[in-house]
């Protein structure tokens, strides 16, 4: 539902970094624990990118699997259900080491060829 807002945020971040060059790819790392629907995000991105330097750019979404780590017994695991207590020691001191990303990793832009004026 909030993919329109996220798409606008992704667009604005890409525009901030593209230096007015045409953007061909926007690569975003999306943690599986973020409630972002990829198809919906792609749909909205295409709409909000119209008439900007990102028009027609391909949105590449790289899904990141969740990883949890217990700070008490140091167990690390990939949860298959949303349970955040350590399955070994029952500790609540569990941190998310991956899976909550919503990060623009890189963009690809078209560079204009500049004529080489150096004497050969």
């Amino acid at each position: 539902m909030h993919e329109l807002s996220v798409a606008s945020a992704v667009l604005n971040t890409a525009l901030k970094h593209c230096g007015d060059r045409q953007v061909t790819v926007v690569n975003v790392r999306v943690g599986r624990m973020r409630q972002v629907v990829p198809a919906s995000l792609e749909f909205y991105f295409e709409i909000v990118a119209r008439d900007t330097a990102c028009e027609g750019a391909r949105l590449e979404l790289v899904e990141i699997e969740p990883r949890l780590r217990c700070n008490d017994c140091e167990r690390a695991w990939s949860p298959s259900i949303p349970a955040f207590r350590c399955p070994d020691c029952g500790s609540a001191a569990v941190e998310v080491s991956a899976g909550e990303e919503l990060e623009i990793d890189y963009i690809e832009v078209k560079e204009q060829e500049t004529a080489c004026t150096a004497r050969r």
Partner: protein, 228 residues
Amino acid sequence: MHRTKVRVVEDALDANNTIARANRDDFDRYGVTVLNLMSAPGAGKTTLLERAIGEPLERIRVGVLEGDVQGSIDADRLATLHIPVTQLNTGNGFGGECHLDANMVRSALDQIPLTELDMLIVENVGNLVCPAEFRIGEDARAMVCSLTEGEDKPLKYPLMFRACELVVVNKLDLLPHLDVDLDKLLYNIDAVNPGVRTIECSAKTGEGVDALRAWLAELAHRRLQAVA
């Protein structure tokens, strides 16, 4: 024409978080503690607020920022409590945003009498998904989960349940009439957000609402202690 890769490595919501920090600075300047209150539609946020702040909290002046897609039904209800209530509608553009973000709250700041408040409760748009993604400059986030929603909701919407430091379990008066398993619900809440504070109450009968009032007072005093 060739292509160049530009490294970005930036959170997509950085811009929102920057505005949220600006909001927070303004709230700090006026000494206002801000609570972002979230829930599914119909969980009972407004009724709970009527119960919890209908009687003034001791030495804490409370105001409400009421977020709705459309209309002022909730704001009108709360205005009868004789507290400052500001309506914020998200219904522009694509038929209405499903959440409040930092910029929307920022746009309403000049309508909120911050000098007259110690605490601002932001009643977010009813939605268990989107509001959890957007910081607005709050000190704390809390949610209301009503028994009628069933015991499985924490497992289906873990992001929301994990975002909050308090989960208010509402509509306790309906427990005898429902098939819902309260212990299972509390177990599921603890599974997705281990150790999170929970308060069981009924906004209808008032049962348990004192615990929420005490929590709100504690939240306001937390700021005073931090300043001292």
